[in-house]
Symmetry: none
Subunit: 213 residues, 2 copies
Amino acid sequence: MANFGLDDLRVVNPYDIAFREAVSAVGGAHVLKSARVFGSVGDAVADCSLVVGTTAAQKRELQQPLERLDTGMPPLREHSGQAALLFGSEKFGLSNDDLSFCHSLLRIPTAPETPSMNLGQAVAICLYEYARRVPATPRRARSDAIEGADAEQMTKMLLDVLEQSGYTNRITAISTEQKIRRWVRRMRLGRRDIPLMLGILRQVLWKFRDSEK
Amino acid sequence: MANFGLDDLRVVNPYDIAFREAVSAVGGAHVLKSARVFGSVGDAVADCSLVVGTTAAQKRELQQPLERLDTGMPPLREHSGQAALLFGSEKFGLSNDDLSFCHSLLRIPTAPETPSMNLGQAVAICLYEYARRVPATPRRARSDAIEGADAEQMTKMLLDVLEQSGYTNRITAISTEQKIRRWVRRMRLGRRDIPLMLGILRQVLWKFRDSEK
């Protein structure tokens, strides 16, 4: 991260001893020292209006757009709000729940028979690509993308509607939650859509409650 | 190396214990197993007609052409004979003697104040760049964008929900309809999202009707 001029490291539920005893590379002490620990991915990206996940894309059917690292990096590079690049653990990668917080996914093109990468190397390659060149004519970046906390509020409220309408019972609740979370992030909502959307959901919930009296 | 389809690893005067006890990453066993040990850089590159060195290029006056990784990689990639990419030790990099075997030098562009890189990460980035191909064809357009009829069905059903929940009364109906119509089309919905979305709306409407009985 220090090599490529980045410093906002956020760590979710790290293995405590390893994290506390981690020694930074030359010139990277400030990154490790200022790293923040979070209890969940949702908390870690709460102020981010763009979350891009990384995956070897081997096992799962992915629900988000998956792009090659070099062609998929420009939107992250040009994003004008707070953006996050999300990596999973060395062993398991990102879970389906983790993935549901992502707007899109990147994969590093590798030899087909050896897709699994060392985490530190994968991070280095992604940040190299991030810093690689300055785009000549940057596309206009969206400045009004909604932040993680707003997206999560909408997700929760929509889930309330689904549960109270009896929808959620029809399929397993967890897969619904992930599905809805992904879906909210995939919509092209801007900040000014939030009051409208929350207003609609609030009204539906009110109607549910009112009719039960 | 295995991640990027390379397998001819040559090691010069390795620290013996570390090298013998090295454990390869997943899928990389064959690279480590077939690695050859040499007593000097000269021996290691004896059969190579192109040797490209890597350097942070900080301290020394360099005698060879120094290129940025991305612009300097094509000659290596396109070389028809045996070519070597040469890395120095983690601590000291390539010595002046090592450098004298090189035809040219590459440097990974880094933040000016943090030029020194972890060896494994530097190798990964160089091999990523080596294997990276410039995309020949533009990205494929999304073929699963929803059609107007689907969008309209969703718009109408959403408006039903708004009306029956009492939402629409609060603002003028026409502006709501236009707002919702624009909004549905601005969402990044694909065709497979339609059944989910319509299912949710149907369920909410059903719940409204059911509670009025």
